[in-house]
């Protein structure tokens, strides 16, 4: 079987993202070397959101005498910029959390803001905004406190109200460019996947980074599940979250039973298997075998996912076909009948996952069914599924579930 073939630059990128680069990193570097090797690698790392990690790794390997693309000056100059940016974010994060603490709020710090204070160094894990989780009743008071710290919404009030209806967060910006997202849920109202914010809060742990205020972050198991939900939401595009997943999966005290249970309850179990397999294939991530081989998924779903070529999707351009991919993964990854039925209704137009929002209902289960609105999107998905079924039957495609690089 012929696995998808990453370019030499992609292979080098993958080596540099591993927890322990293998011995052949120099060979990968040699294959990728050329006049424009460093700019190409930098651009690729940036597209995947791992440039801090890759540049730190390049410098570390160079100090050990491994020949890699990029001059010392190129690497040092870029790292200096990343270091300053990381410092600004750390300082601002500390200022925001201290300000909120003074106002009586102790939010849970999610995603990059948490990972870069524990799992990664601040330079290795770039962040674009600070994500915090609060109780629903705390959202407006917390936003008021952020206003006191210089933050403002970038949107007019009516657009903001509309946004809050369809998202799980509100977003405010500081004139200096910092962004804070205040979450009250972990998934969007229309998502089939449901993470449990109360469980996240109950299992939260407190980090005490040196020289910084204490930081409440989700338990490792919750961070891992949240990461998987983000990979699903981004239709497996990009390496950043797979690298997060790899490092979280390597935590020695990780409770895989809890991870599996949470994934099942969230409707994410199938996608947990897909994500872990991707991380295993690309980064060498280790996890319990029943998760890595996707045994829990129905054979047809395993086959369809395999035929779809998830590895290529990770390395693909962000956004290309991502929405369709996400829906297909959801369809194939869904385990329980009611989720699958809800999803089928969604894609065949027999139900609108947002209609309960438009109708002002408490939740989807309270809303009356909507009349059919056509087969356009669903039909496209079904045609694609049929093509993939045919491809699987008539051609030998790499078996994702046993693929190794």
């Amino acid at each position: 079987m012929t696995p998808p073939s990453p370019t030499p630059e992609e292979r080098l990128l993958l080596e540099l993202c591993r927890r322990q680069p293998r011995g052949d990193v120099a060979a990968e570097a040699s294959a990728a070397s050329g006049v424009d090797a460093f700019p190409a690698l930098s651009a690729l790392a940036m597209r995947h959101g791992v440039h801090g990690l890759v540049l730190s790794r390049l410098r570390e390997l160079r100090n050990r005498g491994v020949s890699l693309p990029g001059t010392d000056a190129e690497i040092d100059e870029t790292l200096a910029i990343l270091r300053r940016q990381a410092a600004f974010w750390d300082m601002e994060q500390d200022r925001v959390l201290a300000g909120l603490a003074r106002a009586g709020f102790h939010p849970l710090v999610l995603k990059g803001g948490a990972l870069r204070r524990g799992t990664f160094s601040p330079v290795e894990r770039v962040m674009g905004d600070l994500d915090i989780l609060v109780e629903r009743s705390e959202v407006d008071p917390v936003l008021d406190a952020l206003t006191g710290l210089g933050y403002r919404s970038e949107y007019p009030e009516h657009a903001r109200a509309e946004f809050r209806q369809h998202h799980q967060h509100d977003r405010v910006a500081h004139p200096r460019g910092f962004l804070v997202e205040v979450h009250w849920q972990l998934t969007r109202p229309q998502d089939a996947i449901r993470l449990d914010p109360a469980g996240f809060q109950a299992r939260a742990v407190t980090l005490e980074p040196p020289g910084a205020p204490p930081l409440r972050v989700p338990a490792t198991e919750d961070t891992l599940i949240h990461t998987v939900s983000q990979i699903e939401q981004e239709s497996v595009r990009g390496l950043r979250r797979l690298v997060d997943l790899d490092r979280l999966a390597a935590e020695p005290e990780l409770d895989w039973a809890l991870v599996t249970r949470e994934a099942r309850e969230a409707g994410l179990h199938g996608f947990l298997c897909v994500s872990l397999r991707l991380a295993h294939v690309l980064l060498g991530t280790e996890a319990p075998a029943p998760l890595l081989d996707g045994r829990a998924l129905p054979p047809r779903a395993r086959g369809l996912i395999s035929a779809f070529g998830p590895v290529g999707r990770v390395l693909d351009e962000p956004g290309r076909g991502a929405v369709v991919d996400r829906h297909l993964f959801r369809l194939w990854g869904a385990r329980t009948d009611h989720r699958k039925r809800a999803f089928r209704e969604r894609i065949t137009g027999r139900g609108d996952s947002l209609h309960w929002v438009w109708a002002g209902e408490e939740g989807p289960e309270d809303a009356a069914p909507e009349p059919s609105s056509g087969l356009g999107f669903g039909l496209k998905l079904l045609v694609l599924q049929t093509i993939l079924d045919w491809k699987r039957i008539t051609r030998r495609v790499p078996d994702f579930w046993t693929l190794e690089y």
Binding site: L82, R83, F88, D90, R95, G211, E234
Partner: protein
């Protein structure tokens, strides 16, 4: 008070700072300017945070680096003067509870500390990712 006995500590009302990978980054929140200091400078900044005197700082650095006492003390005095001029530190009479740590004699290469000043913080933050023209980091 002699220059050697001078103690300063960060001007915490207006200043935030972090030391990351041996570089001190100091932000003046009042005017948006920011500063960086390399390895020796960041070591000095960490001692400024402990309100060490100029003499104590020089003693610590003399033990850690291959440098003459007179040279390092002059460098520390100059840098502390620059930090005061920029409003990043203020003088203090407070003497820290814990004495300065005694370090084993070292021979690391010494480079005179410098305070680099920047006024492009907004530009830098806007550059996420920080290298223009190379695409965008996926949103969180």
């Amino acid at each position: 008070m002699s220059d050697s006995a001078l103690r300063v500590h960060p001007n915490t009302g207006d200043v935030a700072a972090k030391v990351i990978d041996g570089e001190a980054i100091i932000m003046n929140l009042a005017n948006g300017l920011y500063y960086s200091m390399d390895e020796v400078g960041s070591a000095i900044w960490e001692m400024v945070e402990q309100s060490r005197s100029v003499a104590e700082m020089a003693g610590t650095l003399e033990a850690r680096y291959d440098v003459e006492r007179a040279t390092v003390e002059a460098d520390v005095q100059r840098l502390v003067g620059e930090l005061l001029d920029e409003g990043l530190v203020v003088t203090t009479e407070e003497i820290p509870d814990a004495p300065a740590a005694h370090e084993p004699a070292g021979s690391a290469a010494y480079a005179a500390p410098t305070l680099n000043r920047y006024d492009d913080m907004a530009d830098l933050l806007a550059l996420d990712p920080p290298m223009p023209g190379l695409g965008t980091v996926p949103a969180e």
